[in-house]
């Protein structure tokens, strides 16, 4: 591994560390088991949605329906999965299959993913309203237990982030199939020439993204105990920002699962940090954007230096 290649992950780590240090400095009480859990609790569903987005960006597409899809998954979890678990599992599985089918359609008909996913986001949104017309529903008991578990020493949220990062890293960066999937983003033609079915690979990437989207919705319901058809709409942009913050690039299959999880944590932390600054909520979205631009600028300068060296 050469030095610059490793740098890709250094910047996300440094941004998270700086933000964490600033938060602790503002609010020393956050530096505890309980505090950390509170800070990063909501990062778990965001991290899962970010991984879903990353899987799509990995094959040179972009997904504008993640937020609506996670909302739908949350609604299904809070209603059907709670009432009739078997049917709930079936519906969630169908949703994953639907995502895979979306990948096939995008590839086969050579449609731009940005348009198809934008259209699909309205379908997912409509289905979510159909399942749960008004906010409500209940989280299944086991899910609630799982999301509020208190492991010794490490806060659950941090442990979950480590697990998500570790598992997806093995899956995408280390496994053979993951390598081929990244190859699709790097040079689709050369993968096809080597005898792979790009349609199947895209279906796999989209299917996996759907799977992580479903997990994200479930995790969200486990934390909030109820759902709402619009519960996760902002995840679409958060997940894209998370992937990019984590060192990923929009094209060329250059992504990092560990980075994506770190990016999601950074974004969550940024919100808390701004609250600790007593910034009015009106300004928070803008300030969050400013943090994003700051980190990306740092990355750009960093990359330029890397090229010049």
């Amino acid at each position: 591994m050469n030095v610059i290649a490793r740098h890709r992950i250094i910047l996300p780590v440094v941004s998270l560390a700086v933000l964490l240090a600033a938060t602790f400095w503002l609010q020393p009480r956050a530096m505890s088991y309980f505090g950390l859990n509170l800070l990063f609790n909501l990062a778990v569903p965001i991290a899962l949605a970010t991984i879903a987005q990353m899987l799509i960006i990995m094959v040179n597409d972009i997904d504008l329906s993640v937020g609506a899809f996670v909302s739908l998954a949350a609604c299904v979890t809070a209603t059907i999965l709670n009432d009739t678990p078997a049917l709930g599992v079936l519906v969630l599985a169908l949703m994953v299959a639907g995502y895979a089918a979306m990948g096939v359609v995008i590839h086969r008909l050579e449609l731009p993913a940005i348009v198809v996913t934008l259209g699909m986001s309205f379908i997912w949104g409509g289905l979510a309203l159909f399942v749960l017309p008004s906010p409500g529903g209940t989280s299944p008991g086991w899910l609630r237990t799982l999301m509020t578990v208190k492991p010794p020493l490490i806060p659950a949220a941090v442990l979950a982030a480590l697990l998500i990062g570790g598992i997806t890293h093995l899956m995408i960066m280390r496994s053979g199939l993951g390598t081929v999937l990244r190859g699709v983003g790097g040079n689709t033609r050369s993968v096809a020439r080597a005898g792979w079915s790009v349609t199947r690979l895209k279906a796999l990437a989209y299917g996996l993204a759907g799977f992580f989207g479903v997990l994200s919705g479930m995790a969200l319901v486990g934390l909030t105990t109820s759902a709402d058809a619009n519960i996760a709409l902002r995840y679409t942009l958060l997940s894209i920002a998370g992937v990019i913050l984590g060192g990923g690039e929009f094209t060329g299959g250059k992504i990092s699962p560990v980075g994506a999880v770190i990016g999601a944590l950074t974004l969550t932390l940024a919100a808390s940090f701004l609250s600790f600054l007593r910034l009015s909520p009106d300004w928070q979205i803008g300030a969050q954007g400013a943090i994003l631009i700051l980190v990306l600028t740092a990355r750009l300068l960093f990359n330029r230096k890397g090229v010049a060296a």
Partner: protein, 473 residues
């Protein structure tokens, strides 16, 4: 000649491939047997790439038959291709790229095995290559990428390689590395493998090929043992007459110095300046620095001070979704524009004029650029640069994958343009081209190591200057 005692690897019977009205391949019958090194020549658009794609199973023929012996499909029969345009996944490492081609690398420890396999293959073909199999491909130089790609082509993989098709494999390699490859091809064929070798370098063809096939307009016009051809005979068969008088280097008058950089690169008005040396020693970077420095002003002028001819077409040159005309006219839109609107009539006129002058093989310049063969795409890039009124033309190894006839045409055009006062800065990996220049800067390890003029521009002097320091250290 095929030996009737050995089963062939692949047989084409009257194979044809049509793209709409274009007959890219017009009935080719061909048998490739173990132990053969087949040299495939022909000018741009003669159908070489199409033939290769039919042989490797990438394209189904529209007529005739392709039979693979020893397997149901090309991959199963051990047919591999190394393409002219670099086709690795740049975001993956060399070893991971091997994984894509080699489906059998599975299970725990596959990364270690992949690294070992690619390293072994690189060591076999290019001893002393110095490439780290764990390095991401986009951190490698073009030459190194090409080496990795060739190594993947010859790697053991699932079924051993029986026929390896090399499309212009040496165009981005320097002489020493190309030598290693040619030696390996000879060894591989001696060991019972077969190679289809496409190149525009006559010397290479005659060095390794046992049999030479000449393609012209989608047909085989000659198919003999290599010893039955002479250089001129081969060029004649391709349908171009080689200009023998490359050394027509009269002391041409050049004007005032108009380019001078900090690292010593200089050029006068009307001069053709060559940048030479081993591939990847900073020539392309020097040109990029110069060009970007001159043309990156916030407010651009209607006539830019410099224009650029890309060698890496896919990366630096083509706008792949645009038509031939748009690709050509992008450099001159400001010249004919009124009120910020493009003058369509003038654009079309210039497009037709350059199509004729530089000989772009197409019926209609509004066709998509990707419908052209590689060499013709390159002509469009030349037209783009020459059509503008810029006084300085910067060329980054622009003859990559361009055939002999086109090269002669372009050389003549460059000389004519230089005579009318234009300045050319020309980086080339081919000594023959560098010898066309009035002045040559030889680069070594990112710096200019020699400045040669006039009669001093010889292959020996250039090689001397390229290698000196490496021997000393």
């Amino acid at each position: 000649m095929p030996d009737p005692g050995i089963a062939p690897i692949v047989t084409l019977t009257d194979a044809a491939k049509h793209f709409g009205a274009v007959r890219a391949l017009d009935g080719v019958s061909l048998t490739i047997s173990p132990g053969e090194c087949l040299g495939l020549v022909g000018h741009n658009g003669a159908g070489k790439s199409t033939l290769v794609n039919v042989v490797n199973g990438g394209l189904a023929p529209s007529g005739g038959e392709v039979t693979f012996h020893g397997g149901t499909d090309a991959l199963g029969a051990g047919v591999r291709s190394v393409f002219q345009e670099l086709s690795l996944c740049p975001n993956l490492t060399a070893a991971e790229n091997l994984r894509i081609a080699h489906g059998g690398l599975k299970g725990p420890g596959w990364r270690r095995r992949a690294r070992a396999e690619i390293r072994e293959s690189l060591d076999t073909v290019f001893p002393g290559h110095g490439i780290d199999p764990g390095a991401e491909v986009d951190r490698l130089s073009i030459a190194e990428r090409q080496m990795v790609e060739i190594a993947i082509g010859f790697a053991p993989r699932d079924t051993p390689a029986r026929l390896v098709i090399l499309d212009e494999p040496t165009s981005s390699l320097d002489a020493g590395i190309a030598d290693q490859l040619l030696d390996h091809i000879a060894r591989f064929c001696a060991g019972g493998g077969a190679v289809v070798f496409i190149t525009h370098m006559m010397g290479e063809i005659f060095r390794v090929a046992t049999r030479i096939i000449v393609l012209k307009d989608g047909r085989v016009v000659a198919d003999h043992g290599a010893s039955d051809f002479t250089r001129t005979g081969l060029v004649d068969a391709m349908g171009h007459v080689a200009a023998e008088d490359a050394a027509e280097l009269s002391e041409r008058r050049t004007g005032d110095e108009i380019v001078r950089t900090e690292d010593g690169l200089a050029a006068c008005e009307g001069e053709i300046v060559g940048l030479s040396g081993l591939a990847g020693h900073g020539q392309a970077e020097a040109l990029a620095r110069l060009y970007l420095g001159e043309t990156s002003a916030w407010r651009s002028r209607a006539v830019p001070p410099m224009v650029f001819v890309a060698g890496d077409r896919g990366r630096d040159g083509l706008l792949p979704l645009w038509s031939i005309l748009r690709n050509m006219s992008i450099s001159i839109l400001r010249q004919g524009a009124r009120w910020g609107l493009v003058d369509r009539a003038a654009e079309a006129k210039i497009g037709d004029e350059w199509k004729r002058r530089i000989g772009i093989r197409t019926d209609d310049v509004t066709n998509p650029i990707m419908s052209l063969s590689g060499g013709n795409q390159q002509k469009v890039l030349f037209a783009r640069a020459l059509a503008s009124e810029a006084r300085v033309v910067v060329m980054d190894d622009p003859m990559r994958g361009v055939d002999v006839g086109t090269k002669q045409d372009v050389y003549a055009m460059i000389r004519a343009e230089a005579a009318s006062g234009r300045t050319f800065l020309w980086y080339s990996t081919e000594t023959e081209e560098v010898c066309q220049c009035d002045r040559v800067f030889v680069y070594r390890a990112g710096r200019i190591s020699a400045e040669l003029t006039g009669a001093d521009i010889t292959e020996e002097r250039i090689l001397e200057a390229s290698f000196e320091m490496q021997e000393a250290s």
